[in-house]
Point group: C2
Chain length 289, copies 2
């Protein structure tokens, strides 16, 4: 998608990759499908497992359903009903746990021991990274050459994949990651040269709270040009612009890329810029504008 | 756009024509551009005029700007500031009037007398109807054969155009119009065989409040199969589904077509059905869900 109003305002050519239109409403479907179909036939019969309360759980359940194998999803007992129903709707087998990381990890170990299912981590996994890479690959195929791709960063699955696609399929296409200032662990990790865990992040962009994965970080270090941070105000302003001007429903995490342009954190004038809108799963009753 | 969830729920194949993505956020751009470019060169220099507080005013101002001729827009003095600014943004010359139909009509007569501008009515105008017809024409070109097209009806510009396109470019493509029960003048007119004016309409679908135009009605009588009415609850439910499942921002008037399917007012099972989403200009601070 393009938007003449935004191009004119920022003196640039913006190309939006609309992962809000993706299955389950987010890019997570790409990695999940690739991960599920990367498992060999025999192993796959035991199924896949993850602990997640978010889009990855739905995406993995759906991918497993496509391949007709079981998906075991560990979810905290306080997970929103709509997300539980969505996982069930895709045939996912849910085990509830206490809403702590410890309980999640303990519970998934039990589930895996009982079933022999293979864990599919939401981002710290090479087949997941390769799957998420297809978003930027498609964007490059659709738009032709891009000078720059802006990508949100949470755990780094989408960002590592995007950076790999830009490197292997782009022509001098630079990747800059965008992150909320209130959850700037990726930016700090990038500058420090080692993973600094996310502690008590505070941002409306609820898809970007996690720490970088071990497999993701070296790829990001090698192929990402910079990581910039944006304010909550800019995220909300960007979200409003996309709803009002582009008529797209996006989640706050998607808005960090346009927020970076609004706050002049990246130089886009005269360039061809790809922006990855990562998803559209938002509580419509609580829009921030 | 298509939506697997909706297709599965209603056992049908739905094709959505997204006029919310159209310039100025609504199908009105089509008619306005066609009307402005249909005026001969000499006549066009005097400009075009309309009295409107809605999307047509913006669309006409934009079309006039494209042709580099003046657009004189009569707007009620209580028109929302955002709409006034939008018209100004396209270079429209605004004359304010009292917020009554009488004052609008008196004022535009003065403006036309002073300028020699040609009035372009928002729907009761053949070049407008022909312009709006291009939405259904494009949909037929994009989707192949359709059994049915569902279209909102207000003044009848979009509906008359859609019916003409279905007749001339479709293959036995039936057109059914959808209207809020609280503004059912078109339905009653259709059944009575004469135009019954809209009196005190009450609906959230604020683009569908107007009465049918004189030029529109005979086309609708001849080429529209039926006009069905939908409840406010169904309009809101349809709107929510489109936001949640399709990630599209639409205005309530757009939602009447899906509302008719939700309320089983039209038989769509096993059919290929086109739905025209007429626009996306909505007050995001006052979403009804």
């Amino acid at each position: 998608m393009t938007c003449a109003t935004l191009d004119s305002r920022f003196h640039t050519s913006l190309f939006f990759k609309c992962e809000n239109f993706q299955k389950v409403g987010a890019f997570k479907s790409r990695g999940a499908v690739n991960a599920v179909y990367s498992i060999d036939e025999l192993e796959s019969q035991k199924g896949v497992a993850t602990h997640s309360s978010g889009n990855h759980a739905q995406a993995l359940a759906r991918a497993a359903l496509l391949r007709n194998i079981p998906a075991y999803i560990v979810m905290p007992e306080n997970a929103p009903k709509v997300k539980v129903e969505a996982v069930k709707g895709y045939g996912g087998k849910i085990t509830f746990c206490k809403p702590t990381l410890q309980s999640r990890e303990d519970t998934i170990k039990v589930v895996m021991a009982e079933t022999g299912a293979m864990e599919v981590h939401p981002y710290d996994n090479y087949t997941i990274i390769a799957g998420q890479a297809t978003a930027a690959k498609e964007m490059l195929e659709d738009t032709g050459e891009l000078d720059l791709i802006l990508c949100p960063v949470g755990g780094g699955g989408l960002l590592a994949g995007t950076a790999l696609s830009a490197h292997y399929f782009g022509k001098n296409t630079m990747v800059i990651a965008c992150e909320p200032l209130g959850a700037d662990d990726a930016c700090r990790s990038f500058k420090a040269g080692k993973i600094i865990p996310s502690v008590d992040p505070k941002t409306i962009a609820d898809g970007l709270l996690t720490s970088l994965g071990k497999r993701n970080f070296p790829i990001i270090q090698k192929h990402v040009k910079d990581i910039v941070t944006v304010s909550e105000e800019a995220i909300i302003e960007a979200m409003r612009l996309v709803y009002e001007r582009m008529k797209l429903v996006i989640e706050p995490s998607s808005a960090v890329v346009l927020a970076a342009i609004i706050e002049s954190k990246v130089q886009v004038e005269g360039k061809r810029v790809g922006l990855i809108l990562s998803g559209g799963n938002v509580d419509l009753k609580n829009l921030p504008f």
